[in-house]
């Protein structure tokens, strides 16, 4: 899972793995691996989820962390346009290291804007990355909206 800093990567994983949420912000450094069993239609698979330190302009994501990844979630904060603009950069990084890994995009913090605005941004982002990303999701680590669906859908793509 990659994306700009403070987009909510750790919170999304925490919501998915522990079903918990905290508003306080603690920057992740390096990488932390979490495990979670994901029940698909006819099997249960174990996911190893890499929570990778958020990238900034001065410190991009360490490429070693992406080696061997079988799927990638790129997270953007729907309330911060600069994090949405960074999506392209992350897609290029992932494709250059692990080109066969399916990519999904998550627009997090959807609870902070109106439904109408969120749907519009979902539609625009889906259109922009139609070729490079499998799917774009709206999600909220705070409310839990879209979190399970996003991880399950990515697992399907990775196995499929």
């Amino acid at each position: 899972m990659i994306g700009d800093f403070a987009t909510g990567k750790t919170s999304l994983i925490r919501r998915f793995v522990d079903n918990q949420f905290s508003d306080s912000y603690l920057s992740t450094i390096g990488v932390k691996i979490s495990r979670k069993n994901i029940a698909l239609e006819d099997e249960v698979v174990q996911g190893l989820i890499w929570d990778i330190e958020g990238g900034t302009e001065v410190k991009p994501v360490n490429r070693t962390y992406l080696m061997g990844a079988h799927g990638c979630i790129i997270v953007a904060d729907i309330t911060r346009t600069e994090t949405m603009e960074s999506i392209e950069k992350y897609i290029e990084t992932v494709l250059s290291i692990t080109p066969s890994a399916p990519i999904v995009i998550v627009l997090n913090k959807v609870d902070k804007i109106s439904r109408e605005q969120a749907e519009k941004m979902l539609s625009d982002t889906s259109e922009t990355y139609r070729q490079k990303a499998k799917k774009v999701f709206l999600a909220s680590a705070k409310s839990g909206e879209g979190v399970e669906t996003m991880f399950h859908t990515l697992a399907h793509y990775m196995l499929g």
Binding site: Y25, L26, T56, G68
Partner: protein, 399 residues
């Protein structure tokens, strides 16, 4: 250096924990605490597979194989979270050279370096940097909001100014129409006398013509009289025309002449009401501005004075106009003895819709102040005197 010597050195300095793997990724040697880092019980440590034990290396099998094959030197995975608040760097290095195969290592060493202290410092720095960036972004967002708000305010203010300007224009037109009505009344007064004189002369000439058609001298004189009356009427029309002819450029104009042209328009109406009007002071003094607007202001003030006298009649009703220079300004003072302005409204007398008259609209003085101060950069003030009111107009004498 032999591999065992390296491992001994690692053990001796207590910085690293290690695992040694063969080319099937099986862990064949390890330091005491290496498995503790990976949450694996020491009794279960035999024959474990590397990627099952160290999930951070899952998916990196191909890269590790490259190290065995000498296609890659090392592999580094920095800042790996191992346990609550525990950080390690994972370094993967070539180990022992192969027995028979020259192009392949027999073992690879995985070193775990505890970097918790360093990571905590790094965490603080990153936290501080990210929070600063978020704060800056928030400030920038607020600034944008403020800018948008200012722009909206600017648009609103411009819209209000435009509406006010339109309102002002409507007021000016209304006021002008009202003054035109007044003027027409004055012209009627002005023309009545010359018309009756002309009528008298014509009748006289007609009757004399019947007695002595050749009385040339008398005819000459009476015709001159008629011409004089016609000239007087013509002057009245001219004054009226000048009064309402909008002059768009500022000019120097002689105040005395301007005041006289207004006085001519009202003299009959004033005489009829027994109001005396005197013009005193510097007859040559010029001002810089719009003479027709000055005339309108003067007419408005004189009309107000007349109305004040009508509401408060007295034996000797006097209005005086004084022209004098005060520094870079010409000062015109219009003073009456009509009793003055109610002290309660004196401060607001120039405000829109403020009037002391029963039938007043409250437009005249507001418009007069606007013409003098905004259009001509002068000043218009009002005050009470012992017996009446005094309006003072200052107009610039230089362009």
């Amino acid at each position: 250096m032999h591999i065992q010597e390296i491992l001994n050195a690692i053990n001796a300095n207590h910085i690293y924990e290690y695992m040694v793997i063969d080319d099937t990724l099986k862990i064949i040697e390890y330091s005491d605490k290496a498995f503790k880092l990976c949450d694996v019980d020491a009794v279960e440590c035999d024959n474990l597979n590397l990627t099952e034990t160290v999930p951070e290396l899952y998916g990196l099998e191909e890269e590790i194989e490259k190290i065995f094959k000498k296609e890659r030197g090392t592999l580094e995975l920095p800042y790996i979270v191992k346990g609550p608040g525990q950080y390690v760097d994972i370094h993967i290095h070539p180990g022992r050279c192969g027995g028979g195969e020259q192009n392949r290592y027999e073992t690879v060493i995985i070193l775990f370096e505890n970097i918790t202290a360093q990571a905590k410092m790094q965490q603080n720095l990153v936290q501080e940097r990210n929070e600063k960036a978020l704060l800056l972004r928030e400030i920038s967002g607020k600034n944008s909001q403020l800018k948008r708000f200012n722009e909206e305010m600017q648009t609103l203010v411009e819209e209000e100014i435009r509406k006010n300007r339109e309102k002002q224009q409507i007021l000016e037109i209304q006021s002008r129409h009202a003054q035109m009505g007044e003027m027409i009344g004055m012209i009627t007064h002005q023309w009545k006398q010359p018309l009756s004189v002309i009528s008298l002369i014509a009748n006289l000439l007609k009757s004399r013509l019947e007695v002595d058609p050749l009385e040339k001298e008398l005819f000459d004189k009476k015709l001159d009289d008629i011409l004089m009356q016609v000239r007087h009427m013509d002057q009245t029309v001219l004054d009226f025309q000048n009064f309402f002819n909008p002059l768009k450029e500022k000019v120097f104009f002689t105040l005395f002449e301007s005041i006289q042209s207004v006085a001519r328009l009202i003299e009959n109406a004033y005489r009829h009401k027994n109001i005396s009007l005197k013009i005193k002071g510097d007859k040559t003094l010029s001002a810089y501005g719009y003479p027709n607007e000055f005339n309108q202001v003067l007419l408005s003030l004189l009309k107000n004075a007349k109305d004040a006298f009508m509401e408060n009649p007295r034996d000797k009703m006097r209005i005086s106009i004084t022209i004098a220079q005060e520094n870079d300004f010409a000062c015109i003072r219009i003073e009456d003895n009509a009793g003055g302005i109610d002290e309660e409204v004196l401060d607001t007398i120039f405000d829109l819709y403020v009037t002391t008259k029963k039938e007043g609209s409250g437009l005249g003085l507001n418009l007069a102040k606007s013409m003098i101060e905004k259009n001509m950069q002068g000043k218009l003030e009002a005050e009470n005197t012992e017996n009446g009111a005094r309006f003072s107009i200052w107009l610039p004498i230089f362009s």
